[in-house]
Amino acid sequence: MTTIDLINKLAVEHNITTGRAEMIVSILVERLVEKLKKDGEVQITNFGTFSIRRKDPDSSSYMKLNEPIPMVKNHVTFFPDKIFLESINSH
């Protein structure tokens, strides 16, 4: 399933244009990412939780400053909600 399928489905179910549906989805994703960047964690009911996991900083000398600069690498993790898991595992 892709975003296009989701948009088409929304457009059909709610009797709106695909452009509007696309806009809604893009707004949702945008807000979600902003919130994640800001707070480091976003919890969506009945779906799951997005969170940023921070790795230990790797020190490296940046350019010619001869100064250790911590190079941080974060990655996003997702913990699915119980309802999500149940719906997947149910036959």
Partner: protein, 626 residues
């Protein structure tokens, strides 16, 4: 929280009710869950992919969901992390930075504290902290220095400009007078005064009312003025503040342009102050215009009869004499000048030129001169090339067809020899055919006569020949006497009879004379000259002719006769047709009548020498041009 925000936003942008927006919100995530369930994958752009992962350990939840963020999302998050790390302060990291993150808060500081508490004492802790602080301070100081070096110029420039602006535009201090207070004071005073006046004087009410009205009007006018001035001041302040902002927002390029403008102004002022240098006065020099340039000038101007005038010039005019361009002298003379680089130019207008005009004119004339020369050169080159190509092509054609030409013109003896061989080996019909042959080309007496065969072999052949009339049969016994009789009806009989009767008498000495000629051998045809490749044939009248060549067509034989006649003037030729049976008919080219073989040989030698000389000349010219 986020749900409410998104719902509000959707309802606001798309003019939907909150209920509808909430339904859409729920449906989006429900659709993602459904997609993951059905297709095991759901791809959401700019967010990531939700993929099902099979967990073997947990029996209840065999399937779990794994989220793979997109690169853009990861980059955004890491960019945030990098920005945070730029503001990273090692000492304060534990206390301040991880306050937002509960996981990190719980993990990292505790580990540090546990490690330190077990190993190091309080004093050592303090020392380490101090060292850490010293190192941190040093790092911070160095960082500030570097950043200061990077950012200092911009700030300094900005500060300078701000100072300049402040100096140039002095903002007057804003003094807002206490309008209302004054007004109130004034009104109170006046009212009090009025009251006192009313009380004291007890004037009628009309006067007091008038005074009140006038006073009020004055006060309102004053207040209006004050308010106007205050508004003006405020507007001035806003304008100046805007200007200041604009100036401060100027980029470096604007500053550079300002600097360049200032430089330009300075240079212009310097130029204006310094007087202009006078151009050097060229001393009068006698010059001679090249004749080619004069002709060219005449061609342009159309004055063909003024060649001498231009050649006998010149008094060069000074360039800066104050007259300037356009001040004609009215004489209509043409001025020619010579520059310092010895380039000539001609001024043909009825005005005095300035330096730029003369330079441009000289340049134009030079271009014209070059163009004409180039055209001449091209035309000449074209002629040379065409002539060379023509000659070369002719020579090439000659070279290609040289074997044919040589065979056609200069080596006909091969044909003759072959004919000779044929004649020697041919059947006995030849003399008979030769008798029947007719000469088409010439009108000479030789043409009608067959070739004379003095050999003993030919005589019996003549006897065998069948086509003989009954009247001729007895005459064949004496063949030399019969022949004139055959020709008697065609030609004048008495004239030919006399030499023919004398012929046997002449043969004897001639035969003797031929034996003594070197380089000549007797054959069946006649006397063969190997050197000159000709045959000397004796005619019936006892004279000798040169059989130079034999051809397979009458036209070729006539052509050859004409060619030889061109080479050796006065040498007459004739063609004799001979039928050789299986070998075909041949046309023999014969030249002249000579009393002796020696004379014939001399003529033949002359002919061959001339041919050789012509061939040599052709070859020489060919080699020369090749």
């Amino acid at each position: 929280m986020i749900k409410q925000e998104i719902i509000e936003k959707i309802s606001k942008y798309f003019k939907l009710t909150s209920f509808e927006a909430e339904k859409i919100y729920d449906d989006i995530f429900a659709g993602i869950i459904k997609g993951v369930k059905e297709e095991n994958i759901a791809d959401v752009t700019n967010l990531g992919e939700f993929i099902i992962k099979y967990n073997s350990g947990d029996e209840n939840n065999k399937k779990t969901v794994e989220f793979l963020p997109t690169l853009s999302l990861e980059e955004e998050i890491n960019q945030r992390a990098f920005e945070e790390s730029r503001q990273f302060q090692p000492g304060k990291f534990i206390q301040s930075e991880l306050t937002d993150k509960p996981d990190a808060k719980n993990t990292i500081p505790t580990v540090v504290n546990e490690n330190l508490s077990g190993i190091i004492s309080d004093k050592e802790k303090n020392d380490i902290d101090q060292e850490h602080n010293v190192v941190e301070d040093e790092i911070k100081r160095r960082r500030d220095e570097i950043l200061g070096k990077i950012t200092k110029p911009k700030e300094e420039i900005k500060a300078e400009f701000n100072e300049k602006i402040n100096e140039s535009t002095i903002i007057p201090p804003v003094i807002i007078p206490p309008v209302t207070e004054k007004i109130t004071e004034v009104t109170v005073e006046h009212i009090e005064a009025k009251k006192t006046i009313e009380e004291v004087v007890n004037n009628p009410d009309e006067v007091s009312a008038k005074t009140e009205i006038t006073e009020k009007a004055e006060i309102t006018a004053k207040t209006e003025e004050i308010s106007k001035t205050s508004e003006e001041i405020k507007s001035n302040i806003t304008e100046t503040s805007k200007e200041v902002e604009e100036v401060t927002e100027n980029s470096f390029s604007d500053f550079f342009t300002e600097v360049s403008k200032e430089e330009h102004n300075v240079t212009s002022s310097i130029k204006s102050t310094i007087p202009p240098l006078e151009p050097p006065v060229v001393p009068p020099v006698e010059t001679v215009i090249p004749p080619g340039a004069v002709e060219l000038h005449n061609q342009i101007t159309g004055d063909q009869g003024k060649t001498n005038e231009y050649q006998t010039t010149i008094t060069p005019m000074p360039f800066a004499n104050g007259n300037g361009n356009g001040n004609g002298n009215g004489s209509g003379e043409n001025y020619e000048h010579k520059l310092q680089d010895n380039s000539y130019y001609i001024w043909y207008k009825d005005s005095e030129p300035n330096s730029t005009d003369t330079q441009t004119m000289s340049y134009e004339y030079e271009l014209l001169y070059q163009a004409t020369k180039e055209a001449e050169y091209k035309s000449k080159l074209r002629i040379y090339v065409t002539t060379f190509i023509m000659f070369f092509s002719i020579v090439l054609i000659l070279l290609i067809f040289s074997p044919v030409i040589y065979k056609y013109f200069f080596s006909p003896a091969e044909d003759q020899n072959s004919e000779e061989v044929q004649q020697e080996t041919s059947s006995t019909n030849e003399p008979q055919n030769s008798n029947q042959s007719t000469n088409q080309a010439s009108v000479n007496s030789l043409e009608n006569q067959p070739p004379v065969n003095n050999t003993t072999q030919e005589q019996p052949k003549q006897e065998v020949t069948p086509p003989v009339t009954q009247q001729e049969q007895p005459k064949q016994e004496a063949p030399k006497q019969e022949q004139p009789k055959q020709e008697a009806p065609k030609q004048e009989a008495p004239k030919q009879e006399a030499p023919k009767q004398e012929a046997p008498k002449q043969e004897a000495p001639k035969q003797n004379s031929t034996q003594s000629v070197p380089g000549v051998t007797k054959s069946s045809m006649g006397w063969l000259d190997d050197y000159n490749k000709v045959i000397y044939v004796q005619l019936e009248n006892g004279k000798f002719t040169i059989q130079e060549s034999a051809w397979d067509s009458d036209a070729k034989a006539n052509k050859r006769i004409s060619a030889v006649g061109g080479l050796v003037p006065g040498l007459k030729g004739s063609v004799l047709k001979v039928d050789l049976g299986s070998k075909g008919t041949w046309y023999r080219a014969r030249f002249g009548e000579f009393s002796t073989i020696e004379e014939a040989k001399q003529k033949a030698e002359e002919l061959r020498n001339k041919e050789k000389s012509r061939l040599h000349a052709m070859l020489l010219t060919f080699f020369l041009y090749a």
